[in-house]
Assembly symmetry: C2
Homo-oligomer: 393 residues x 2
C-alpha cells in the first residue's frame, strides 16, 4: 500500500498507536484454534481483567468496534417487553436508547442537558414502581466530554433489582472504571481510545448478576454474532468454535494491554489527568471557554467552545493540513459549537499538548481571534511543573 | 509482543497472509474521517466491485468477520413474519437458518445431505404458493467443501419475486462469484479465505433490488451495528459518522485487494483450480477418499475422509507440531470423519501442496496407514505439468 500520513491523533478517537502495537499486527497470522493463539487470548483476558479492575470470569473483546460492544451489552440482557432505563446526556446515551428500542424493550429515558451529568435522583424516580431489567449509563460521554459519576446510579439501580450497564468506551485505561469496586454488572469499551490500540475490538466484562441473567433468558439472543451464550463457550475452557476471531487485531490488543500493565494503571490515570489539566489550563489562558464545568470534566476528552467569529471547519482543516493534528468537531446538536480534543493513551503526552496549544494559537490568530501568544504555554507548563511530571509524560 | 510461530495455513481459514498485507497493518493509524482514510475506503470499494464483478453502488466491508456479513445480509432484508427460504447442506446453511429464525422470520428449509448440493427443484417447490422475501444459499459450504451451483436457484427465486442472498465466504477471490452476471441481490464474504487478508472484515454487496427492499422497510433494522440504512450514509458521499471504522484492518484489505487486482481475477481462479486439482490428485493417489463427488467440489477447500484406523486429532496435531501446517477437522456431524484442507489465496501455491502431501504421507504412515510413498507427489506434479503452471503457482 502507498504510504499514509503520520497524524497526531487528538480527536475523540482513534488515538495515537504505539509502534509496538502497530508492529504486533504485522506478526504471522495464526488459526483461531491454534494453541499459540489460544495463549494470546488468555493473555488478553488476563490483562483486560486488570484494566477493568475485575475478577469477572466473562471478560473478553467482542469482534467489532465499541458500538458492537454497546449492542452486545443490550441485546444479551434485554428481551422484548422488558424495561430499560437509559440515561441520556449526549449522543452515545441516545444511541443506547436507540438500540434498546430496536430490541423491543420498553425504554424509559432519564435525561440531562448535553454537557451536564445525569442526576441519580432522576434515575431513582424512573425505576420507582417499575420492574426494570437494566439501567444503562455512559461513563464517559464522548460527544460532550462529561464524566458521569456512577456511584449513586449504581445504588438506585441495584436497589430496584436492575442490572447496571456502563459504557466505558472513552474511560477504560485513562480514567478509573473499577468494575468490581463500583459493582457494575456489564461494562464495555472500545480499543481505540485510552487503550491506544487501533479500532476493531470491544472489550467487555460481565459480572455474576449478568451471567445469571444470561442463563435465565427465555428468548434466544436476537443477534447470533453477538450472542454471549455461545461466545462464552469459545472463550471458556471448551474453545467451542463460534466465529473466526480477528487474529491480528487480537495481537494488537494484547500488545496495547501489555503497555498498560508495564506503565501501571494508576500512573496511566495520572498521566491522562496531568495532560488534560495542562491542556485545559492552556486553552483557558488562550481565552477559550470549556464546554463542561470543572467537576464533571472527562480528562481524556476536552470539549472547547468555538468562539464567535471562528469557523470550526476551517480551524480543524488547518490543524490537520498545517500540523498533521486531528481534533474532532461537535456531533449532532453541538455541530459547529464545540471542538473535541482528545488526550488519550499514547497521545496523552506533553509534546502533543504543547504542540496542540501552539497550533491552536496559530490557527485561531489567522481567523482574527485575539490570541495572547505565550499565555497558553505558560499555563500548561505550570501544570506540568506543579504536578512533578517526569520524562515524556 | 513475543513472537508467534509462522504456520502454513491450509485449514478452512484464515489462509496465509502476504507480507505486504501484514506490513500494511503496521502503517500509522488515521482518523476514520481523515481525507486520506476516505481515499483508502474509496480504493477498497472500487476493488471490491472488481472482485465481486459487480457495479453495485452499495459495496463495502462490514466491520466484523464473515458471520457478521451473514447477519447483515439477513437482518437488513428480513422483517418479523416474513418468509425466508434457506438452503441447508452444511453448517453454514444451518447458521443462516438459525439467524433468520432469531429475527422472527418464518424459515422454510430446503435441505440436502451434507456433502451434496441443493436441488433448484426443491427450492422451486418451497417458494411455490408463498410470498417469499428471500432465498438464502451458501455458494461455498466451508463445512463440507461443496460448491453450490447458483443459476437454477437464482432463477426460481426471482420468478417467485424473492431476493437472492448468497454466502460467498469461501469462494470470493478464489472461485468466480460474478454477482452481476448471476443476478445475485445480496452477497457477502469474509476476508480470511481466498482474499488472504486477516479475519475481521466482511465484504458485502447489495444490488438494486436489495437497495429497494431496504428503502421499503417498515420496521427499523433490529441491529443498530449492522444497519445498512445508516452505514450506507458513511460509505456514500455524505460520510455521515456511524461507527469508528476498523482502520488498520481496512489497510490490510486494501492491500489484499491490490494483490488480487495485480494478479488478475481469472489467473487467480486458475491458480486455485490448479493447486486444488493437484492436491486432490495427490490425496487420491495416496489411497484417500475425497468426501465430495468431483463435479461439486469446491477448489479452495478439499474435504478428505479420515481412513479407518486413523485418529484425525493426532493427524492434525502432528501436522501442526512437526510441519507447522494447519488443516481443519470436521464440524458438527462430520467431526472425526473428515479433514478439511484449504488451498486459499496466498496459501494456494505449489510449495504448500507438495509439502502438505509429503507431510500427510509421513503422519499417516506413523498411524499404520499403508502409504504408497511417492505416488501422491507424482500425481500432483502431473497436474501441475499438464496445466502448464508457471513460476510459483
Amino acid at each position: 500500500m502507498k504510504s499514509v500520513p503520520e497524524r497526531i491523533l487528538m480527536g475523540p478517537g482513534p488515538s495515537g498507536v504505539h509502534p509496538r502495537v502497530r508492529q504486533a499486527m504485522a506478526l504471522p497470522v495464526l488459526g483461531h484454534l491454534d494453541p499459540d493463539f489460544l495463549a494470546v487470548m488468555d493473555d488478553v483476558t488476563r490483562n483486560l481483567r486488570l484494566v477493568f479492575e475485575t475478577s469477572n470470569r466473562l471478560t473478553l473483546p467482542m469482534s467489532g468496534t465499541g458500538s458492537a460492544g454497546m449492542e452486545t451489552a443490550l441485546v444479551n440482557f434485554l428481551e422484548p417487553g422488558e424495561v430499560a432505563v437509559v440515561c441520556v446526556n449526549g449522543l452515545f446515551g441516545e444511541r443506547m436508547a436507540d438500540i434498546a428500542g430496536r430490541l423491543g424493550a420498553e425504554v424509559v429515558l432519564v435525561e440531562a442537558p448535553w454537557g451536564e451529568a445525569v442526576d441519580p435522583a432522576d434515575v431513582e424516580a424512573a425505576v420507582k414502581g417499575r420492574k426494570v431489567k437494566l439501567v444503562a449509563v455512559v461513563h464517559a460521554e464522548t460527544s460532550t466530554g462529561v464524566l458521569q459519576p456512577l456511584e449513586g446510579i449504581v445504588r438506585v439501580a441495584h436497589e430496584a433489582g436492575a442490572l447496571v450497564v456502563v459504557d466505558a468506551v472513552t474511560s477504560l485505561g485513562g480514567v478509573p472504571v473499577r468494575v468490581d469496586e463500583r459493582d457494575i454488572d456489564v461494562c464495555y469499551s472500545g480499543t481505540q481510545k485510552c487503550l491506544s490500540c487501533p479500532p476493531g475490538l470491544a472489550p467487555l466484562t460481565v459480572g455474576p448478576r449478568g451471567e445469571e441473567a444470561l442463563d435465565k433468558r427465555k428468548a434466544r439472543v436476537s443477534s447470533w454474532y453477538l450472542d454471549l451464550t455461545m461466545i462464552r463457550r469459545y472463550w471458556g475452557r471448551e474453545r467451542f468454535y463460534h466465529h473466526t476471531a480477528p487474529v491480528s487485531m487480537m495481537y494488537a490488543l494484547a500488545e496495547a494491554l501489555r503497555l498498560v500493565v508495564e506503565e501501571g494503571l494508576e500512573a496511566r490515570y495520572r498521566r491522562h489527568e496531568t495532560a488534560s489539566a495542562a491542556l485545559q489550563a492552556g486553552l483557558e489562558a488562550m481565552g477559550l471557554r470549556l464546554f463542561v464545568r470543572k467537576d464533571l470534566r472527562l480528562a481524556p476528552l476536552v470539549a472547547v467552545e468555538v468562539p464567535p467569529g471562528v469557523d470550526d471547519t476551517r480551524l480543524r482543516r488547518e490543524l490537520l493540513t498545517d500540523y498533521g493534528i486531528e481534533v474532532g468537531g461537535g456531533l449532532g446538536r453541538l455541530k459547529g459549537r464545540i471542538v473535541r480534543i482528545g488526550v488519550m493513551g499514547h497521545s496523552a503526552r506533553k509534546r502533543n499538548v504543547m504542540l496542540l496549544l501552539a497550533a491552536m494559537e496559530d490557527c485561531l490568530d489567522r481567523q482574527g481571534f485575539p490570541v495572547p501568544f505565550g499565555e497558553a504555554e505558560q499555563a500548561a507548563l505550570s501544570v506540568y511543573r506543579a504536578g512533578g511530571a517526569s520524562g515524556e509524560e
